[in-house]
Structures are given as structure tokens and as C-alpha cells.
């Protein structure tokens, strides 16, 4: 009757489902971002249409889950929905593609640096919530998320004062690898000269100033999106697969 010293420990946590993989006949592996780190857990039988857990453990959902520690992977024993972001986001295709990119970036950033998990969790949660309201153009939410997720990871860009000498701006040149604007004295070769409106727009994205973000035109958005994507790629070692599928208006 004794369970030979291997008492199964269970724990409760809040989490955002980053993604799921099919496992075996009817199970899934759930990648869950919790305030304490990323957990990979098995959800049994969730692909059967009789499973109640299946709809809860979908990507982008925020859940309250009960897990049992396993030898390799933990097992999800219960889960309740906190916020059904997945269901809201899926109804708008551009938002769905942006949400995919955000969760992939979150996972990649936390693989490199797990100290900032709680802050990354809050940022992702806020970004998914905003995205699901369809109030801000999805591409702008993504670019703002990227700039702020990189800031939390220790790579905060500057679009006001010079990133080299700190001289207050506005400055006209921008250097992606250095992480922002550079003054005329510091300006290294390879600097870009984006439109001044683009630099203001990048600052608005970094601050989450949605009123200012809404004023930007398509050219500034496009230019900024390229700068943000290059800045992200510079810091992440591996390519973000889902960025290619992001649909921008």
C-alpha cells in the first residue's frame, strides 16, 4: 500500500498558455508561462471532444491550474479560465498572428533570462488583454510589446537622448545595434536616418502612448516595424518563426 517514497506533489498556479503540442492519441503538451517560470505539462485526453479541459488550455488563455509534479513533465489535473483571450483573439486574424509572435518572443526571452519572469508575465498579460480589445492596431501592439519586452530583458532602447553619450535629443540618426538614437557627434557608420516622425512614433510605442500611436501614418509604422524587428533579431539568437506570418494592415 505504501507509495514507495514517491509522493506526488501538486501545486496551483496562474499561467498563460503559450502554446500546445499534440502528444500521442489524445493528449497535449501545454507550455505554460507562470509568474515563476515556464512550465511544460501534459494535459491528458484534451483532444477528445468530450474533454472540458481542452477549451481552457488553448493558446493565449490565462488560467488558474492545478498541476501534479511528474518525473519529466508535470500533469495538469484541473484548470479554470481566468481570461479567455484565445477566444477573443482568434476572431480577428491579424490579432491572432500578433498574439502568436508575442508568445514566441516571450518564450525565447525567458529561455535566455528567467530572472524577469514576473515582469514579462505582466507585460504579456497586459498586451494580450489590450490586443483582445481591438482598440489599438495589432501591429502597433506587437511593436510596443517587443520594445518593452526587450527593455525588461535589459536591452531598453532610447529614442530621446543619445545612447552613447546621453546628450538630450531629439536626434536624427538611429543605430539599431546600439539600441536607439545617436547624436551628430557620436553617430557611427551604419546609422539610419529615419523620418523624425518615425522616431517620435517609436518613443510613443516604448511608452505605450496610444493616443500618439494612433496619429502615426502608414510610412512611419512600416519604418518603425522594420527597426523594431531588426533590434529584436539583434538580441535574440534564434529567428522568431511566427513573425513572418504576422499580418499588418
Amino acid at each position: 500500500m505504501s507509495r514507495s517514497g514517491f509522493a506526488s506533489k501538486s501545486y496551483r498556479t496562474r499561467g498563460i498558455v503559450l502554446r500546445t503540442h499534440k502528444l500521442g492519441e489524445a493528449d497535449r503538451i501545454i507550455t505554460l508561462l507562470t509568474p515563476n517560470g515556464i512550465v511544460r505539462a501534459v494535459a491528458k485526453g484534451v483532444r477528445r471532444t468530450t474533454s472540458r479541459l481542452g477549451a481552457t488550455l488553448e493558446p493565449f488563455m490565462e488560467v488558474e491550474a492545478q498541476l501534479v509534479m511528474g518525473r519529466n513533465l508535470d500533469i495538469v489535473s484541473q484548470a479554470q479560465l481566468r481570461h479567455a483571450y484565445g477566444q477573443l483573439l482568434v476572431a480577428d486574424y491579424p490579432s491572432y498572428t500578433v498574439a502568436n509572435a508575442m508568445v514566441e518572443i516571450a518564450e525565447k526571452l525567458l529561455e535566455a533570462d528567467s530572472d524577469s519572469t514576473l515582469r514579462q508575465y505582466r507585460l504579456l498579460h497586459g498586451a494580450l488583454a489590450l490586443l483582445s480589445k481591438l482598440a489599438v492596431e495589432p501591429g502597433a501592439v506587437l511593436d510596443s510589446y517587443i520594445l518593452r519586452a526587450l527593455s525588461i530583458a535589459g536591452w531598453a532602447p532610447s529614442f530621446t537622448s543619445c545612447v552613447r553619450c546621453g546628450k538630450p535629443g531629439p536626434h536624427e540618426a538611429l543605430h539599431v545595434q546600439l539600441g536607439g538614437v545617436v547624436c551628430a557627434d557620436c553617430r557611427p557608420s551604419g546609422s539610419l536616418s529615419p523620418h523624425p516622425v518615425t522616431i517620435q512614433y517609436l518613443q510613443a510605442l516604448l511608452e505605450g502612448d496610444w493616443d500618439a500611436v494612433a496619429l502615426a501614418g502608414p510610412r512611419a509604422r512600416k519604418q518603425a516595424a522594420e527597426i523594431v524587428a531588426n533590434y529584436l533579431q539583434w538580441h535574440l539568437e534564434r529567428a522568431v518563426k511566427s513573425l513572418r506570418h504576422v499580418e499588418r494592415s
Partner: protein, 256 residues
């Protein structure tokens, strides 16, 4: 590690879906123990499938000829096309006998994290197929999970400008599951209860034009309130300041 041939077999088996290293080893030793004739037959059937079976030129269902048995069958209703993710979904729907039309197999669902976008699916071929005037109804039967739903949303938007009636399987299919696991009764009922998912105002325009999306099943979203926050998710001073933090009752309005 085992010697050459055995290890090679274990490695190959381990690449199959749903088979981990342990199962691969178990199957490999079963093959070693089993009757030689039985295993030769297994090997031959794998080889035969790879030689003979291909994808239907019209609908991408599996077929031993250029076109599949369903596309060749004159008695099938040509005006209705049921769009599914995989060939095994065709089989599941055929078992219900609830549908007498034809199919289009997409080859998966839109899943950007796995590198699958609309271009990786047989959507372009579907649009080409729809140039045929006799097609009057499209039934979206993608999996009732998030990727399947996203694929359906994409298709409605891309195909609505064609002016063809688009319906979506509905009742009885709980979200989160795979279509192939639905029992026949539930799946048949889902066919009867399919609802209109999109129909364009202006018929026969070139596809891919953005069209207003029907969003009947999801309630309208509220306007954001600037600077809003809750005690549950304190605002992070530097990085978080302007992402609107969700209200606590969001999930209630979002649940179907």
C-alpha cells in the same frame, strides 16, 4: 545503443508521431520477435502506400488515382464543398453519412508557431476551384480548437468576396478538441446545425479583398479605459504603464 540495424530501426520508429524512445524500443523488439512473414507483409504495405497513394489533384484527399473516389463519384452533390484540415477528417465525416457533397483538404491548420501560414495550406487551389459557378455552399469543418477556428476566420475573410454562402459546423462540438474524435451523432448534428459564417454583399469579386468579418459568436469588445489597472496586476512603473490591464470580469463576457 544497440548494434547497427536494430538501433536504426529504433531511431526510425522514434520519428513517428506519438512514439517516444521507450515505445520505439518496445516495437523494435516486437518486430525482432515476430514472424518473418508478418513483418515482410508490413514492410510491403508501407512500401505500397508510398508508391501508390498520392493526393487527389482536385481536393487533396488521399487517393490511389489522380483524383479521389469522392471527386470521381458523379452522384455526389457538386454544389457543396466541405473544407477540412486533413484526410482523416474526410473519413470521420463520411462515417456520419450526413454529407453528400465534395471535400477540400487544406493539409493542416494555420499555426504560425509551427511555421504554418495560409501559404502553406491548399487555399490557393481552393480559390481556383471556386471559379466554378456551380458551387454554392462552403462548409467549414476545421477542428473546433484555436488553430482550426483561426483557419476558419481567415477563410471566411478571404472567400466572402466570392459571394458563396459559407457555413461553419457548430452545435455539439466543444472547443479544444480534434474533429476526428467527435462521435458520429455529434458530428452529424453539427452538420445539421451549421450556421452561416459569411456571405458577401457583392458577389463574384476577386478574392483576398478584406471583407467585414462576421463576429456573431463573440460579444463586442469594450473600449479601453486609459491608465486602467487592477490591484491584481499592479502596473509596472517603467515598462507596463500604458498596457491596459484587463478587468477582472473579462472572462465572463468572453465565454460563449
Amino acid at each position: 545503443m544497440y548494434e547497427g540495424a536494430v538501433q536504426e530501426l529504433i531511431d526510425e520508429l522514434g520519428r513517428l508521431p506519438g512514439i517516444g524512445p521507450k515505445s520505439a524500443q518496445r516495437i523494435a523488439f516486437h518486430i525482432l520477435d515476430a514472424d518473418a512473414e508478418d513483418m515482410t507483409r508490413l514492410a510491403a504495405s508501407i512500401q505500397l502506400v508510398k508508391e501508390k497513394v498520392k493526393f487527389c489533384e482536385i481536393c487533396f484527399n488521399i487517393s490511389e488515382q489522380d483524383t479521389c473516389a469522392i471527386c470521381r463519384d458523379e452522384r455526389r452533390e457538386g454544389s457543396m464543398i466541405c473544407i477540412v484540415e486533413e484526410s482523416k477528417d474526410v473519413l470521420a465525416i463520411e462515417r456520419t453519412r450526413a454529407f453528400g457533397g465534395r471535400y477540400h483538404v487544406l493539409g493542416g491548420s494555420i499555426n504560425p508557431l509551427a511555421g504554418v501560414g495560409p501559404e502553406q495550406l491548399h487555399i490557393r487551389e481552393l480559390v481556383t476551384r471556386l471559379a466554378d459557378d456551380s458551387i454554392t455552399e462552403l462548409i467549414l469543418a476545421t477542428d473546433p480548437n484555436l488553430e482550426g477556428e483561426a483557419t476558419a476566420v481567415y477563410l471566411v475573410r478571404a472567400l466572402a468576396p466570392l459571394g458563396i454562402k459559407i457555413t461553419r459546423l457548430a452545435s455539439g462540438l466543444p472547443v479544444g478538441g480534434d474533429l476526428e474524435y467527435a462521435d458520429e451523432v455529434t458530428l452529424a448534428r453539427a452538420f445539421e446545425g451549421r450556421r452561416v459564417a459569411g456571405r458577401a454583399a457583392a458577389p463574384q469579386v476577386a478574392p483576398q479583398l478584406p471583407a467585414p468579418e462576421p463576429r456573431t459568436e463573440v460579444p463586442a469588445r469594450g473600449k479601453p479605459e486609459a491608465g486602467e489597472s487592477t490591484s491584481d496586476h499592479p502596473v509596472d512603473a517603467q515598462t507596463q504603464q500604458r498596457f491596459v490591464v484587463p478587468e477582472m470580469d473579462d472572462h465572463r463576457s468572453a465565454t460563449r
